[in-house]
């Protein structure tokens, strides 16, 4: 459909008659804006389409629930409402401008600007809350790990070591730690023990299920996630589930500790006996040496020969058994026995050492239990200074897509706000109404994108 310009009469001059035909019944500005909006549709359709595919293609049950990543649905709903209101106000501004009510138009435009700013403010608040929980678009700031494997446990240990280094540096600088920092040091030390405990199971246990379970327990301690039916229990019941899991481990550990203790006691008892015998032997040797030193000087001739015959039962026919030689034999005997006893002691020590280490580890695990049980919502929630790496399956994918989409949308909102600011000083009468129409079209598009983003990100 094209509209014709008034046809010009042929005045018979032989001029070529040109008529300007409009291709579309809309002004150029509006046409250009609609073309721009079609590119924006492609832009956001690409991003949203990619998000849809990624989110539903994630393995069953791995995409983070909104609660897991600190998405608060009603905040998103409120933002949606704010944006809907701003869409209405920009339309009202346009209508007022069309009817030459420029001050009313400016009022509605200013209100749109305010509502848009509220939207950005709420978005900023949401971003801040994510950052505070260690959810960033990517590393190095992001604390999110996809799974609880040995690298995750290592990362936890390294973060704890960094905390400890900071506190130790303060101690080394001869500065007094505040009470807060003393508590922190205690917590850090005990959590380090627990992490090492997890690492030893993860590295050494033969059962792959036990290895995985140990690492999952560490991940749950730091940042508990619940799936399926458990996911909408109230927080204290969720914590109950977690505590029960840790208590089950603890009772198994304590049973083992008891067994280890018993073995240790038995070995220590045996060792004590052997040590006593060794002591006796040492005493005996000492006495024999004393005896030997008290002997009178041996007769010159045969004594030398016989006393050199250590351990031989050969006795020179004409000599009496040399008392010195006898004593030497006894000393040698006792020394040999002492050597054996010392070897036995060594063997006992070899047995004791690993059991001792095991008992130390078990004790450390027992001591960390109160910290884990009292940390409602996980260690990262309870101790907001800890900021340990946390396991959120598909968490990094979620964070990338969330921040990208809401970030681009927020940029578009900001551009819209800039446009409002630039128009606001103008006299918004009927001649300028088309400007408001175009800016309004852009603003409605921004609202459209949010209409799709809100359920996809917050509710799905």
């Amino acid at each position: 459909m094209s509209e014709h310009a008034h046809a010009h009469d042929d005045h018979g001059h032989g001029h070529i008659k040109l008529q300007y035909q409009r291709s579309l019944p809309i002004p150029n500005g509006k046409l250009c804006l609609w073309l721009f909006l079609s590119t924006e549709i492609m832009f956001f359709a690409g991003l949203i389409g990619a998000y849809i595919v990624l989110r539903f293609g994630a393995p069953e049950g791995t995409w983070p629930l909104p609660h897991d990543v600190h998405l608060i649905e009603w905040v998103g709903a409120m933002n949606t409402f704010v944006l809907i209101c701003s869409s209405v106000t920009i339309v009202l501004s346009y209508e007022a401008a069309k009817f030459n009510q420029s001050s009313l138009s400016r009022f509605w435009l200013a209100l749109t600007l305010v509502l848009g700013t509220v939207f950005i403010g709420v978005k900023g608040f949401e971003y801040k809350s994510k950052f505070a929980h260690g959810i960033y678009p990517s590393t190095p700031h992001s604390l999110i790990y996809e799974k609880a494997d040995i690298y995750y446990v290592q990362a936890v240990r390294q973060k704890l070591a960094a905390h400890k280094a900071g506190l130790d540096a303060k101690v080394a600088a001869e500065e007094k730690l505040t009470e807060d920092e003393e508590d922190r040091l205690k917590v850090v030390n005990q959590l380090t023990d627990y992490t090492k405990w997890t690492e030893s199971i993860a590295a050494l246990d033969n059962d792959p299920l036990k290895r995985r379970a140990a690492m999952e327990r560490l991940a749950m301690s730091v940042y508990p996630l619940f799936r399926g039916h458990d996911s909408h229990l109230p927080p204290d019941q969720k914590h109950e589930l977690f505590t029960k899991m840790m208590k089950d481990e603890l009772s198994a550990v304590e049973r083992e500790g008891f067994t280890v203790n018993e073995s240790l006691k038995k070995i220590a008892g045996d060792r004590a006996n052997v040590a006593k015998e060794a002591e006796n032997l040492t005493e005996q040797i000492k006495q024999l040496n004393e005896q030997k030193s008290k002997l009178p000087a041996a007769p010159a001739a045969g004594a030398t020969g016989a006393s050199e015959g250590n351990g031989t039962t050969f006795v020179a026919l004409q000599d009496q058994p040399n008392p010195a030689a006898q004593i030497d034999m006894q000393i040698a005997d006792a020394t040999a026995k002492l050597g054996e006893k010392t070897k036995e002691l060594g063997k006992f020590d070899e047995q004791i050492l690993p059991l001792d280490n095991r008992l130390k580890a078990i004790t450390a695990r027992t001591q960390v239990q109160p910290i884990l049980e009292h940390a409602h919502g996980g260690l990262n929630e309870h101790y907001d200074w800890l900021k340990l790496p946390m396991k959120i399956p598909s968490g990094n994918m979620w964070a990338s897509t969330y921040f990208l989409m809401t970030g681009f949308h927020a940029i578009h909102v900001a551009v819209g706000l800039l446009a409002f600011v630039l128009i606001l000083p103008k006299t918004l009468d009927a001649t300028k109404a088309h400007i408001i129409e175009n800016v309004g079209l852009y603003w409605h598009f921004v609202d459209l994108v949010w209409i799709f983003l809100f359920p996809l990100l917050y509710l799905f």
């Binding site: 008034h6 040109l18 019944p25």
Partner: protein
């Protein structure tokens, strides 16, 4: 030589004004209010459906379909009334129809290789995944035991 050969600028400047919307200028405000109320109600519906645990557990696809339907309805309301497309000429289809087709096509074409990538995972590949493979939901019912909760409990 005095008159213009072609473009009568004055005439066109009139046409360059705001789009004439004979239908919506009178009582237009009433329509906008009605649309606003409808948008709010739809947002509320979408919010309630999305937070419904009953739906989420039993029929998540229904929940998603409902929310997408609500979103499409809201988008249509904004486009038709606030963006005035209801009163625009057929060029609106030139812009919107190909764009919608391409968007849908884009999503559908990504589904086999990216959306369904985990269906072709080997057992070895599943070993390295974040969560172990969940068996088909159809096998879960009251007669059978639920698979263990993913709370990391050891055996």
């Amino acid at each position: 030589m005095d008159h213009d050969h072609g473009i009568d600028k004055k005439v066109h400047r009139e046409h360059l004004g705001a789009t004439k919307d004979a239908h919506a200028s009178h009582g237009g405000l009433g329509i906008y209010l009605a649309v606003f109320v409808a948008l709010c109600i739809l947002t509320l519906i979408s919010f309630l459906v999305g937070n419904s645990q009953v739906l989420r557990e039993n029929a998540p696809q229904v929940m998603w379909a409902a929310m997408m339907a609500v979103s499409v309805a809201k988008a249509l309301l904004v486009m038709l009334f606030f963006m005035h497309l209801k009163w625009e000429a057929n060029w609106k289809y030139v812009l919107t129809v190909p764009a919608s087709m391409m968007s849908l096509f884009l999503v559908l074409m990504l589904v086999p290789d990216i959306g369904r990538r985990t269906r072709n995972y080997s057992d070895d590949r599943w070993l390295y995944s974040a969560e172990p493979k969940v068996e088909d939901k159809k096998h879960q019912d009251a007669d059978h035991l639920h698979p263990p909760a993913k709370s990391g409990e050891g055996h």
